[in-house]
Amino acid sequence: MKDIVRHLNKVRWGVLTIIFAMLILLPFLHLYQSYEAAHAYDLLAPSEKSIYDSMEWLTKPFVKDPEVELNELKGTTWSGTLFGLKMSDPLAVVGQIAAGKNIYWPFLLTALIPILLTVVFGRFFCGWICPATFIYELNDNLAAWMRKAGLPVSKHKLDKRLKYFVLAAGIIISAATGMIAFATMYPPAIIGREIYYSIALTGFGTGMVFFLLTLFFDLMVTRRGFCRYVCPGGALYSLLGWFRLVRIKRDVTQCNDCAKCNVVCQFGLDPLRDDFSQECNNCTACIAVCPTDALSFTLNIKDVPFQGPGHLGHKHKRDEA
């Protein structure tokens, strides 16, 4: 069991990569479908023909009628359909309820599965699914290289409660203007949409400019700053996952106080002092980095309070003596 848990971080990277790759692949499949629907292969431009051919090669083993069957798998993490199962981001539902001031049940139900998973796993979306996380984590690696090279990088700290104000402000703006304000500034929504626009339609829209600004903010001001301090989706999931069941717990008898977990945690949490809180996105980087296997998943609706220094560390031995 411990062995599997240690490799969860790699699994997570696999999941993130697959989701990001799907976001790029699906617009190409859409193009293929529209070429197929036009029934005019000979009239396609050479570049369009190459898209058609490669997508045909890719999907031929699985589908007979691409026009209809490829519609089973569509959309982005903001809202999509997975073999007939429609799923939406809970933030989209909150935004829609705020903007329209009415509840449309079929839409609310599309967010049911994500909401239930969030209640159990907390901010798992932020660590395991969000396509923006994929880029933000790569951006954080860039920051690490820059730090090694001696360049100035992010080192400020802000107040974690800020994102709840952003969530509230977004709800108020949506209610006041009758437009879903989150859709314009929520990175996963922007990423999914902009990739689709750039491949299947005219090109990148304005959302991309905002997303690049957030990358710059992460790099220069504070580590993973947007996710930790601004993202309204993160705020919503933190609230939903306040009493989440699955938590990472430190086994104090195994811990040697090396503090590698604190360094590797991109969300700036404090596993060394048992402080995971509702912010933890279950990224499992701390579990993977722990040299003594002290960290593991447990079922518990509350974090344990600080258990004291690790029993394998010097401080504990000094205290004992």
Binding site: P106, T184, L201, T202
Partner: protein, 210 residues
């Protein structure tokens, strides 16, 4: 105090795209009839914007790829879909209505779809100005006789197309019309009723109202 300043600054930063789109482009800066609503859309632009979450699913399932999205020039409507029938028209397949997760597009019978109604400019249409036989709009109309009819008129010496009550405004006729000045356009049903059909007045195009 510093915390509050930083916080306010960050909230301002995160509302940047919203504020920019609102204050730089408060209105849709294009002719209303080149950006018509989707089939099965909630009536009224305001109600549609309240329901649409801008996920782009409708565009991703559209077989003719006719659904486009308002960019920053759409103001409040940015990231929401529209159809420009003069470029590519809706084929009324209904995939977008099925896939839309929200109330914005709901499954509607083809004959009850209301994207507007076609209006033929009688000073440009070939048969109407006595330039010969055409009927391309009649031939392509997916609803047939309910939406458009060819009527023989002695004064025109050929069959002229006349829009009927059943027109749902899909815009196939706009796309197919061979006349370069696009004599057919899709207008809101309240503005272009069949009663006013064919009034050949070239007035300033109306802007979408927000």
């Amino acid at each position: 105090m510093q915390k509050v300043t930083v916080g306010l600054g960050l909230i301002g930063f995160s509302s940047l795209p919203f504020v920019l789109s609102k204050f730089l482009f408060p209105k849709v800066l294009v002719d209303a009839h080149t950006r018509i609503p989707l089939p099965g859309a909630l009536a009224g632009q305001d109600a549609f914007l309240e329901a649409c979450i801008g996920c782009g699913l409708c565009g991703e399932v559209c077989p003719p790829d006719c659904i486009k999205f308002h960019s920053v020039d759409g103001g409040f409507a940015s990231n929401t879909p529209y159809i420009d029938p003069s470029r590519k028209a809706c084929i009324l397949c209904g995939y977008c209505m099925e896939i839309c997760p929200t109330e914005a597009l709901t499954v509607t019978d083809i004959r009850e779809v209301d994207m507007g109604t076609a209006q033929i400019d009688q000073v440009a249409c070939y048969p109407w100005v006595d330039k010969g036989v055409c009927g391309a709009c009649f031939a392509i109309c997916p609803l047939g006789d309910e939406a458009i009819k060819l009527e023989f008129r002695k004064s025109n010496r050929s069959a002229v197309p006349v829009i009927q009550e059943g027109c749902v405004g899909c815009g196939q006729c706009v796309e197919v019309c061979p006349e370069p000045s696009l004599p057919i356009r899709i207008v809101d049903r309240s503005q272009g009723t069949v009663a006013r059909h064919g009034v050949a007045i070239r007035k300033k195009p109306e802007m979408l109202k927000f």
